[in-house]
Symmetry: C2
Subunit: 362 residues, 2 copies
Amino acid sequence: MSRAETSRRGNRPGRAGIRDVAAAAGVSITTVSDALNGKGRLPDATRRHVREVADRLGYRPSAAARTLRTGKSGLIGLTVTTYGDEPFTFTEFAYFAEMARAATSAALARGYALVILPATSRHDVWSNVALDGTVVIDPSDQDPVVGELIRQGLPVVSDGRPAGALPVTAWVDNDHEAAVLGILDHLAAAGARRIGLLTGTTTDTYTHLSTTAYLRWCERVGQDPVYESYPAHDPCAGAVAADRLLARPDRPDAVYGLFDPNGTDLLAAARRYGLRVPEDLLLVCCSESTVYANTEPPITTLSLKPRRIGTAVVQLLIDAIEGLDSDQPVEQVIPTELIVRTSSQRRPPRTTVSPPRSPGGL
Amino acid sequence: MSRAETSRRGNRPGRAGIRDVAAAAGVSITTVSDALNGKGRLPDATRRHVREVADRLGYRPSAAARTLRTGKSGLIGLTVTTYGDEPFTFTEFAYFAEMARAATSAALARGYALVILPATSRHDVWSNVALDGTVVIDPSDQDPVVGELIRQGLPVVSDGRPAGALPVTAWVDNDHEAAVLGILDHLAAAGARRIGLLTGTTTDTYTHLSTTAYLRWCERVGQDPVYESYPAHDPCAGAVAADRLLARPDRPDAVYGLFDPNGTDLLAAARRYGLRVPEDLLLVCCSESTVYANTEPPITTLSLKPRRIGTAVVQLLIDAIEGLDSDQPVEQVIPTELIVRTSSQRRPPRTTVSPPRSPGGL
DNA sequence: CGCGTTGACAGGCACGTTTCTGCATGGTCG
DNA sequence: CGACCATGCAGAAACGTGCCTGTCAACGCG
């Protein structure tokens, strides 16, 4: 009581500290801390009293002080790949946005918050924020930031299996090879004789695995590969590449596009060449966008289930942070989902594609 | 030297503290701090020596300790509205994703990192992270979180003018009324006689301002309003509402859709009713998506310039945090951009819509 | 030669919390 | 009746920085 009531000369008027609460409640600092955190052995009466006083003073514990003392900040990083100086690529947008949304949600449900950090950025930004762990998206084995994070002993969970021998804590990914093979079989079953691929020039594992799976499938069934590549981060280049693919002398009668905008790009190109979809050209693309449900015709898409991936990644990371030896394996494979629509079926199941209300009828 | 060389019994092996650097360099803690932060008056030789030793030991200053001492964390919050338990609405996705990307970029360029926080969330998450300021998207005057942030004296900058008399530090917004009036005039100039609106049932300012601007325009030109509302966070409801709008006995010959997916929804509905775009129906929607450049026909869109908004919001916030009295006004209006395509022109400028490469010609 | 001045550093406090240790008090049991 | 233990709380040591306040030597100057 002798010093506490002075409440420190330089006390900020807007912020009440734990000392002020202790003084106002007539107890010690320890009792306040224990009462608010449910830690010590206190009678319920004291606990209630302290909580009441803290509420009345509008007391908010300092996050910085708590972090300094406990070593846990409640923050997890979300590292996104960069093209140029923009934080993340435009083409992966629907995927990334969905994934980030799910990750934010999952982190929040367990009391953590998400910090967005580009993989290539000035070092001071990385060291200026206290992270309990990090989610990295499609990390390269060359990435110096990821390497240092791991060296510091921070848990690192990656979306996409890590390139090289990057010793991440855990990773979550789709089975991209199986997904591509499934699509190719689906197209072949719909009557495709020559299936083309619209792929990227980047070296990430998604592009690499998908392309090699396509090439191996071609080899197995004895088809000459027909594909065009373009820098996936450039939306205009996608339209050009789609056009190139359909302009080839060995024009394919079915195309799978690896990136989100490929569906509309291919559809527009087909229209320019007078190709009817699906009669003359079967179409599938990898996308999370719902616009493909309402295009003419609706386009079959492959969903990578970014929400499930974002949730799983965060769960594994927080499990590692909190030291729970999860019974889950440290490598999780999330199944993809092929949403079959008119564009990949030679004989559509119904002539009208289930409009929300039948306009002409009734 | 007497105590420093013991280096504290419980020292973590992986993390070198400032004490270790001081001991290894043979100087005091003060000298290390001054040398690394460029603060005191030290000869360059000492400064270099300390930096060298710090690098050799892999010293990273503790962000928590620095935050506790200086009161600045280098973190700014990004508050997103919630529908249900998901962090942000799906329909604003392209807009939000672009805006968040620009905000992340701008923050990073000035040494700050972004934390994503839902507006409605458990209180402990908010108080568990030390923020220097917050960006809020479309805040309601009822929002308890924003109110408390302001009460704590934190700078708050909002995307969208604040509802009610919310005393935010600054805000950035488009002139939604002018944008709607511009679109309606554009459609009328293209020959529209009865313009319909596809709007939302939510009470946010964007929806409100746009709808009232539409109603006032109708009153001015003497047209009966023709509009349908639906909950904007439900993607399926949009397709149903688009269908309803075109099924009305007073069917409009032009429609403006306030939300991103309305373009494809309206296009699909028009197709079901056998309406040709733009001959029978003129179409404009508000969207940041590039898919509308390649639909059949390409659809005129209104861009709210989310990248400029995200950048401006962060600049204003950091200016307020760092106490720079910016010469910019605290209220910034970002102009919108109408990207005119075939869907809103009765007589398209060219028959072929500039394919990337002429397929049939040459 | 004494004295103010300046450069170059060291000591130590404070930031606000968590938590380990310790000290009373009152009840129980041998 | 004394030893002992559970209960209820207080004191104080950290956590790792930043920065304010010195201290000490060298130096110019009257």
